[in-house]
Symmetry: C2
Subunit: 437 residues, 2 copies
């Protein structure tokens, strides 16, 4: 008698990510209790399923892991472009945040961002923004996986008075959300220039004690490093090392300014790096030395950053940018192949967030975090190798189905846990108020 | 009594490109006899129209001008990626072309490319490929505007014996197509390394005599320039200048390797340049100094190049890549703003192809080459400035309507002059045959 499963999905192609570069044609994948029980060619899998999907023009792959962002900021998308980073922050973003950011803003903005991420195949995102309790609630309700890193800054803002207040509120949130299996709450120290060394020390102590992830913006620009040296005599990375933050639970974001010795240090301490190529390009921040970091074995993920700067939340665009940028900056068209970019956006990100045993590839035992992409459009014809199209042609708008922990969150591009009309109406209402101000 | 027009289009926004950076809210545009008769706010335009369109969530803009490509090569899309340019050509593309390229291949491939280009808002494209008569026929039937530059190479291929044979066939095609108002036939010398100097001299003579455009790949890579110097003692650009090709009818493509003196020469001779950022990135060819060329006043267009390398034909992706690349390579986030990129992809390209009086902006007297893009999706919310979304967010798949010379070629994303099912079936059939070989 055939084994019983909850969900059985058949598809034209399946890219498990492990083993590397494999494409299974005529594939099936079976899920039970939210977990993958078998993956292979269709005739090798004989099970009985409560629900069955036949996706004849589609490729199945692990859901994307967006390893860095500020979801709610999507409500500022396109408000200010083509500006230098510091002017953009000082003159536009920070005044906007002071004027508008509150619980409702973060709730509505995060919902819009989640809707966009789900529609582009992201099943797990990392977030760092004010009112993280509102973002966490939106993620819980939508049903995707999230790492909520509560922001820690020394200056007063609409959410908190100072760094200690941030930590206090964040730890309370961590406590509240203990039972949420798809959520992880970690520390989000904004940057070394928005915190005191003593704050960073305190974060290192707590994070070690709690074994919690820490995500920090680090070495985003030359100016960040130069200013730190001028003002304190110490580079941000050296400060982070000195206070004891480097290590397996630290996720450093951007990292465009690195020496060979820095790369050795990151590898030796098993510190993770999150690459945000489109953000780095658009803000002219610099180019993270991804090729060298890969060779050094550093755990690397990929992130969209916030859509106020970037200006979208598609990991497929991010894979494309990562690959093209790696090629041109290394003068070598063989750098960061299509598969390498896909790895960064899935398993690489999962490993960088400490979730490599749970998600990031389609292998038995892992969680059923799966997406289907329809490759039947003219824009993705012909198909010699579906992995190429995932990275080099535009098909993010053709993500058709998405499962998180075996739960179907999108079917034929219709979101099942979010009301798209309501999300869109809220976004328009915010834009109208903000535009008039 | 109200004036009578053929077509009247109302839209939420209209970006005429001239004047620069203008966005008209609540706009209308009226067309008669294929030409624009008026553009402005809706209540300023009082006409009676045979056909009227109300596009409430849309932005209207001039159709994109794809100033360089090899349309039929889309049938090789994704066949070979992540390879160095010379190996990619020697080991993959040239053997494939030898095995497969014929009239039918070019006809079917060009139709697929045209379908993709129309769906992404391109109303005018430049082409350079074997069997240009088949590409020209496909363009005529589809109804969009095209510059067909017949390829000229010295080596025998499936279409021609040698350079003289190419010129002979090409001039016959030019003669055949004299009456086609939306087509221009020009010379497409492939590159200095695939032709003899005497061929280039002859092309210069004919092109001057006929006042015909010439498009050539030039200074694509460091290796191209170095090999030429090693083998002939002369850089390709210097050779092109010596044989008399530089000037207003020449369109040089790629141009990643340029000195300040070269930029002065191009400006002084009014030679046009076509920038292909995604192709240059993916093949790690180099970075064209667009910022310096813009400051020098050089006529600049934007091209996708062939989809065998690039791997798509969306000018919106090209605008995005051009802007991000200009920013990072100049270490300045203010370089090539969203509007500047839009200008390159519309009026800039039109001027580069010598069509600046006819197309490229929405002003009275110009041809009605117009597209509408629906900005109502969640991915393009909120809308503070539609120009930002055209360049920085992914909305090529939301091009809804397209007119060329006032003729509607796409309505609500349905192509009216091409059978999408047939085009897709042909593409699949080619891929099956090619895959099995």
């Amino acid at each position: 008698m055939a084994e019983k499963v909850d969900t059985l999905i058949h598809a034209r192609w399946l890219v498990p990510v492990e083993p590397a570069r494999q494409v299974i044609e005529g594939a099936s994948i079976a899920l039970r209790g939210g977990r993958i029980v078998s993956v292979g060619e269709r005739d090798q899998i004989s099970v009985e399923a409560d629900e069955e999907f036949s996706l004849d023009d589609h490729v199945l792959l692990p859901g994307f892991v967006n390893a860095h962002g500020h979801a709610a900021m999507v409500l500022f998308r396109g408000y200010a472009d083509d500006m230098r980073l510091q002017a953009w922050l000082d003159e536009r973003i920070w005044p906007l945040e002071h004027a508008w950011v509150d619980q409702d803003f973060v709730r509505d903005g995060t919902e819009l961002a989640i809707a966009e991420m789900l529609r582009a195949g992201t099943t797990c995102f990392s977030d760092m923004y004010y009112f993280p309790e509102a973002a966490a609630r939106a993620a819980c309700d939508a049903g995707l996986r999230a790492q909520i890193t509560f922001p820690i800054v020394r200056f007063p803002n609409n959410w908190s008075r100072d760094a200690d207040d941030c930590i206090h509120r964040g730890l309370a949130l961590r406590d509240d959300l203990r039972s949420q299996r798809r959520l992880i709450v970690g520390f989000g120290p904004h940057a070394t220039y928005t915190l005191e060394p003593k704050n960073l020390e305190r974060i290192a102590t707590y994070a070690t004690e709690l074994d919690a992830p820490v995500q920090i913006h680090l070495h985003e620009t030359t100016a960040e490093v130069e200013n730190a040296v001028k003002e304190t005599g110490e580079r941000p990375l050296d400060l982070v090392e000195r206070v004891g933050l480097l290590g397996p639970t630290l996720q450093t974001v951007h990292m465009t300014q690195l020496t060979d010795a820095d790369i050795e240090t990151l590898a030796a301490t098993d510190t993770a790096v999150v690459h945000c190529p489109q953000s780095n390009l658009k803000l002219a921040s610099g180019i993270a030395p991804i090729a060298a970091m890969r060779r050094a074995g550093i755990r690397l993920g990929l992130g969209t950053d916030g859509a106020a700067g970037n200006n979208g939340l598609s990991m497929m665009r991010e894979m494309n940018a990562a690959s093209l940028l790696a090629k041109i900056s290394n003068h070598d068209a063989t750098e960061l192949s299509a598969f390498d970019a896909l790895h960064l956006a899935t398993l690489g990100g999962a490993i960088a967030l400490g979730l490599g045993d749970e998600i990031g590839s389609l292998v038995p035992g892992k969680s059923g975090d799966i997406i289907a992409i329809d490759l039947s459009e003219l824009e993705t014809q012909p198909v010699y190798n579906p992995i190429s199209h995932l990275v080099y042609t535009a098909c993010a708008h053709k993500v058709s189905h998405l499962w998180c922990e075996g739960e179907l969150l999108m079917r034929e591009r219709v979101l099942l846990t979010l009301d798209e009309d309501r999300v869109g109406a809220h976004a328009r209402a915010w834009a109208e108020r903000i535009s008039k101000s």
